[in-house]
């Protein structure tokens, strides 16, 4: 990839540097203007990110001074009456709901992508891919309303069954206790999984389609099944792109606000059961920002926002690390 870039540049540079009398003065100015505009646009984007982080950190200083970092991260008391604030239940809620979403969405995305890339007859590929991509176009508030008004009632009739069968298993059973309200951590995770699906599946599908057909066809010629081709040929070939797609979806799940607020049940308490209500950082912000009447309260909410940014950055960092490490291992084995 990088090699071909170099040859491209090497071919082009002398051509563009050749003095061309035919070029009008305004074309040169136009080009340098475009150059400046592109640099400016790039700088603006970077500056906006930095300015946001700095502004959020600045506005949360009152809470940072009052509670410090460690105490705020580990305290599970969030009480506007006593003006004591701690982020722990919301950090847990954010991470667990997103984890549920990924556990559900990744296998389905893989299935969808393999179906479109390998199995589906060509006339059905486009409609299915289109339908899944349309999922991404639905506003998140619609997912929230759908989750609350359509999915939760159905799910609440399934929950007693889940509690009866899964709840009886020692150990794991703790995850499936509680009243069948239809809302809670698991509902939020399922709704998030549907929202994340178009992102992960369309990236997987795109990269699966660029796997050289010589590779695939030689595997089929060796008598490999579709599963073996997908798992042993396509997936290793596209691994880093697939992981990138998964983390893109995870990023979306971590920051999702409205849909989660509607279906997670909004309780500040940490419960081992996935059927119990919980809360995430974005959902608390959405719920409490408008009526936060004291400076410390408001500052603590903004502090939560800062922590969400940190969580997202850490997740991104881990993704890059993982891709690099896998890349190195692949290099070593090859």
């Amino acid at each position: 990839m990088s090699g071909s870039d170099m040859t491209f540049g090497a071919e082009l540079r002398p051509v563009s540097e050749e003095p061309k009398p035919a070029v009008r003065w305004w074309r040169l100015t136009g080009d340098s203007l475009f150059h400046a505009a592109a640099v400016f646009a790039a700088l603006i984007a970077a500056a906006a990110l930095f300015a946001t982080v700095i502004a959020i950190a600045y506005d949360s200083r009152l809470s940072i001074e009052t509670f410090g970092v460690w105490r705020f991260l580990t305290s599970s008391e969030w009480n506007p009456v006593t003006q004591t604030f701690g982020a722990f239940p919301f950090i847990i809620g954010t991470l667990v709901s997103s984890a549920i979403a990924m556990v559900l969405a990744v296998p389905v995305s893989f299935g969808v992508a393999v179906f479109i890339a390998e199995i589906a007859p060509s006339w059905i590929k486009k409609p299915i891919a289109g339908a899944i991509e349309l999922l991404a176009a639905i506003p998140s508030i619609v997912y929230g309303l759908w989750g609350l008004l359509v999915f939760a009632p159905v799910f609440s009739s399934i929950e007693p069954w889940i509690t009866q069968y899964f709840g009886a298993i020692p150990g794991i059973g703790l995850l499936f206790q509680g009243p069948p309200a239809g809302i809670g951590m698991l509902t939020a995770g399922i709704v998030l999984a549907i929202m994340v699906l178009p992102y992960t599946s369309s990236i997987m599908r795109d990269v699966f389609l660029i796997v050289p057909s010589s590779l695939r066809e030689s595997a089929y010629a060796m008598g490999a099944t579709t599963w073996e081709v997908a798992w042993d040929i396509i997936l290793p070939y596209t691994r880093s792109a697939v992981i990138g797609g998964i983390f893109l979806g995870l990023g979306r799940a971590l920051g999702e606000t409205m849909a989660v607020t509607f279906v997670i049940g909004n309780s500040n308490m940490i419960s081992p059961s996935l059927l119990m209500p919980s809360a995430t950082i974005p959902s608390v912000l959405a719920n409490e920002f408008t009526e936060a009447t004291t400076p410390l309260y408001l500052s603590s909410l903004i502090y939560l926002g800062l922590i969400l940014i940190a969580v997202t950055l850490i997740v991104r960092f881990l993704a890059v690390l993982l891709i690099r490490r896998l890349g190195r291992r692949e290099g070593a084995s090859a």
Binding site: P80, A152, P179, P180, G182, G184, T261, E291, A292, Y297
Partner: protein
């Protein structure tokens, strides 16, 4: 030729647009009042301002950004009035150079979902509700509930507590009432627009709470009066401070206000929960408007005129959307308060 004529007509268009824009700005500057704050009072201000514009030409531009935002905006002086569901303490008002007055009364009630039990059939007391929300009473056939409701067949069902997840004046009023009637609630939980709930699930907005209660058998929640009128939910009767069993009515909310001696209450810092009176509804609430003392007389007068017009002529409109108009005695007290605090009144 054609270019010239085009540019000329273009210029004429621009002049026209500019003139329109300037006249628009002037008109707006003459007769627009801006306010921001409480989402609870928004339907009332919207309804009043629509009629007020037709009557006087003055436009009221109200943004329902929440009480916290309303207080911040009026402190910063970016709006002419701020609206809050929770009154500011007199010392806070003084420190920030603000005044406040009530707008209208409202109320809320408990709703429940129990098979076979009709709206208005169950009777609660404040301490009982506090114990339910403290998770001390966990079953519907608890003796404490059965004692208040002889003859009602209560099921052996778990109680699922539902509360508001978003910060809200409704929560503040509810928690304030529980603090007044239950020492344990006051000590463990207290009252604010958001509180640390000992138990339960949180629904966003009145709609969220109503939809949870409608769906979850054995649930109990609290919603504004308007949601009870819709008729989908079974609501409770309460025993008030006088020991009488009452149903929620606009008159019950107004009685709460009528039994307050507003002339003695500094800066109207009175919460309408748990007041005396045989018909008084115990979980009554109020919303407040906040003005800046240092704002120009014209600005403040414009706001005062608008609300005074609402007090006098907007009563029917208020009732149509389940707000109780302030009793005449309260309106008189507001007028005297303006004179006293600002040195002028309408």
């Amino acid at each position: 030729m054609s270019i010239v004529s085009k540019s000329r007509s273009g210029r004429r268009l621009w002049v026209a647009v500019l003139a329109l824009a300037i006249s628009g700005v002037c008109a707006a500057a003459d007769s627009t009042i801006t306010g921001a704050g409480s989402t609870w009072v928004y339907p009332l201000v919207a309804k009043w301002s629509e009629a007020y514009k037709v009557k006087t030409g003055t436009e009221v531009n109200y943004q329902s950004i929440g009480s916290g935002g309303g207080i911040a905006q009026i402190k910063a002086g970016t709006v002419a009035f701020g609206a809050s569901d929770m009154p500011l303490k007199p010392e806070d008002l003084k420190a920030a150079g603000l005044i406040q007055f009530p707008t209208a009364v409202a109320g809320e009630d408990l709703v429940y979902n129990l098979p076979g039990i009709k709206p208005g059939q169950l009777i609660f007391t404040g301490p009982l509700v506090a114990d339910i929300y403290l998770a001390k009473i966990k079953k519907w056939d608890d003796p404490a509930i059965a004692k208040l409701n002889p003859g009602v067949k209560l099921p052996n069902m778990d109680i699922t507590v539902v509360h508001r997840s978003d910060g809200s004046g409704t929560t503040f009023t509810f928690a304030n009432y529980l603090s007044k009637v239950s020492p344990e609630w006051e000590q463990k939980v207290g009252a604010d627009t958001s509180i640390a709930w000992p138990t339960g699930i949180g629904g966003k907005g009145n709609e969220g709470v109503a939809s949870y209660v409608q769906r979850i058998p054995g649930s109990i929640g609290y919603v504004e009066y308007a949601y009870i009128l819709e008729g989908h939910l079974a609501w409770a009767r309460m025993i008030n401070k006088d020991g009488k069993v009452v149903s929620p009515t606009l008159k019950g909310f107004q009685d709460a206000s009528a039994h307050v001696d507003w002339s003695k209450a500094q800066d109207f810092y009175v919460i309408l929960t748990d007041h005396k009176g045989p018909d008084t509804w115990p979980i009554s609430g109020c919303t407040w408007q906040i003005l800046r003392k240092s704002a120009s007389k014209d600005t403040n007068l414009a706001v005062m005129k608008f609300f005074y017009w609402g007090f006098e002529h907007g009563q029917g409109m208020a009732e149509s959307i389940s707000f109780g108009p302030l009793p005449p005695s309260t309106v008189a007290a507001i007028k005297a308060y303006w004179k006293n605090e600002l040195g002028y009144t309408i």
